[in-house]
């Protein structure tokens, strides 16, 4: 048994195809998850001191509802394995839609299901990151903003977000990398991503050592690219 470099060279085109798809699913899912997570994270603490003080009357009711919805979403996603979520979205969701609305044949293709899975999964974890970062902003700074008479939205946009964002970058980077690696699970719904490509090549030539080494290095390159981008963003921001 020797390490055959030629095997890697031969399989590289398919592996790169798989890596491209993994990257596409991860990035689309992460961007969607970031939006979802920011909204859910802010909903989770709507109407509290951390985002500009107590609310009254109808807006108090609204903020309680928001908190409850966000809480339910986060706990549901964090409490179930991502592989089950992927299976549910791909196989069970069309059936659920049929049961509820009577519409038959609503189906997502595997890649769409994969993107949605990453989005809602990463979104739940990012919601907690956003909540933590916002709550870590000094209460005095929030009060200083409030005391000037700016609106809640201005306070969140101009004071809380810029400070919270800096704090959120390291844990967000963590989540980005986890989500990228989670795309390997979509092998179970038949997405031709990197891990599946590796598996298929392996099944035809049985060169486990070469193929899995190459697959691992492909993931490492992609996660490094994410980490370096985030470090660049962090460095470019004003030190505070």
């Amino acid at each position: 048994m020797t390490f055959e470099w030629s095997i890697i060279v031969e399989s590289l085109p398919s592996l790169i195809e798989g890596a491209k798809l993994s990257w596409y699913i991860a990035i689309t899912g992460i961007v969607g998850g970031l939006v979802l997570g920011t909204v859910a994270g802010l909903m989770r603490i709507a109407g509290t001191r951390a985002v500009g003080g107590r609310t009254y009357g109808f807006s108090l009711f609204l903020s309680r509802i928001s908190q409850l919805v966000a809480f339910g979403y986060i706990e549901l996603i964090r409490g179930t394995p991502i592989i089950v979520q992927a299976m549910f979205i791909y196989f069970a969701l069309p059936l659920l839609i049929e049961v509820i609305t009577g519409l038959r044949g609503v189906r997502f293709d595997a890649v769409t299901a994969a993107i949605i899975t990453i989005m809602i999964n990463a979104g739940a974890y990012m919601a907690e990151i956003v909540r933590g970062a916002v709550q870590s902003v000094n209460k005095g700074l929030v009060e200083a903003g409030m005391a000037m008479g700016i609106s809640r939205l201005q306070l969140i946009a101009s004071v809380i977000s810029p400070i919270a964002f800096r704090r959120a970058i390291p844990p967000l980077g963590n989540q980005f990398i986890i989500s990228l690696k989670d795309t390997s699970l979509f092998i179970v719904i038949g997405v031709g991503e990197l891990t599946r490509q590796g598996q298929e090549i392996m099944a035809s030539n049985f060169r486990a050592l070469e193929i899995w080494s190459a697959v691992a290095i492909c993931y490492l390159i992609m996660t490094s690219a994410l980490a370096l981008t985030l470090r660049f963003i962090e460095k470019r921001m004003r030190k505070i």
């Binding site: 200083a144 409030m146 005391a147 000037m148 008479g149 201005q154 004071v159 400070i163 004003r238 505070i240």
Partner: protein, 244 residues
């Protein structure tokens, strides 16, 4: 003399603990009120009720003709007219000194960026930091930060300024520069409420001294007279404690 802040039988509780008992107090325009008292006596809470950072539990509080807590929703209107300076400055750490001061005119008063920067530069000049505009708060000394914070509050063009222990986090030599700016603001006729233990400021710039103890206002009078001749034993003890 127009009343601008009126406490009418105001009480404030945090949970079970009542920290302000039945306060009645009228502040008229151009008064410079210095609030003293032992820690935990309710000075800061009294101040924070005025701009709605704390909501009063009972009674009526009228600030610039707006009633709290009946008109809770108008609390922003009050805050635009009531500037506040905090013990720990709380400058926005991601903005330069100039951006901090320009923030209010831009976001609260709707000035353009250029006009807001102009207002900010003028105010920085006034507090003696005209050449520090481009510095981040972390690059300034405590005294400089507090002077920027005063400029930031003034930039919104408030009718009243609240100071919550503005010098107690500063070294003695930095206090002077902050007190000088506050004296300047007082001399320009600003209505001020100052929680402070700086008796020299009370005597020099204050027009009224309130002594609070245990959620009540125990003494209320002319600073020079009260300091010379404190009526209650509590105030006499207190003055001894702060080394006056």
């Amino acid at each position: 003399m127009k009343p601008i802040i009126e406490f009418r039988k105001v009480s404030k509780s945090f949970g079970e603990t009542e920290v302000l008992h039945d306060i009645s107090l009228t502040i008229v325009e151009n008064e410079v009120v210095v609030l003293v008292g032992p820690s935990g006596s309710g000075k800061s809470t009294l101040l924070r009720c005025i701009n709605g950072l704390e909501m009063v539990t009972s009674g009526d509080l009228v600030v610039n003709q707006i009633h709290l807590p009946r008109q809770k929703r108008s609390v922003r209107e009050i805050r635009k007219e009531v500037g506040m300076v905090f013990q720990l400055f709380y400058l926005f750490p991601h903005m330069t000194a100039l951006e901090n001061v320009a923030f209010g005119p831009k976001k609260v008063r709707g000035f353009s960026r250029r006009e807001a920067n102009h207002i900010a530069q003028d105010l920085l000049d006034k507090v003696g930091l005209g050449d520090r505009g481009h510095h981040l708060p972390s690059e300034l000394s405590g005294g400089q930060q507090q002077r920027v914070a005063i400029a930031r509050a003034l930039a919104v063009k408030p009718k009243v300024m609240l100071f919550d222990e503005p010098t107690s986090a500063l070294d003695p030599e930095l206090r002077e520069e902050v007190l000088n700016v506050m004296t300047l603001v007082a001399q320009e006729g600003m209505t001020m409420m100052v929680v402070s233990h700086e008796m020299s400021f009370a005597k020099k710039a204050g027009t009224r001294l309130l002594f609070m103890d245990d959620g009540r206002i125990d003494e209320d009078g002319d600073p020079a007279e009260l300091l010379l001749n404190p009526q209650t034993e509590r105030l006499q003890n207190f003055l001894r404690h702060v080394g006056y």
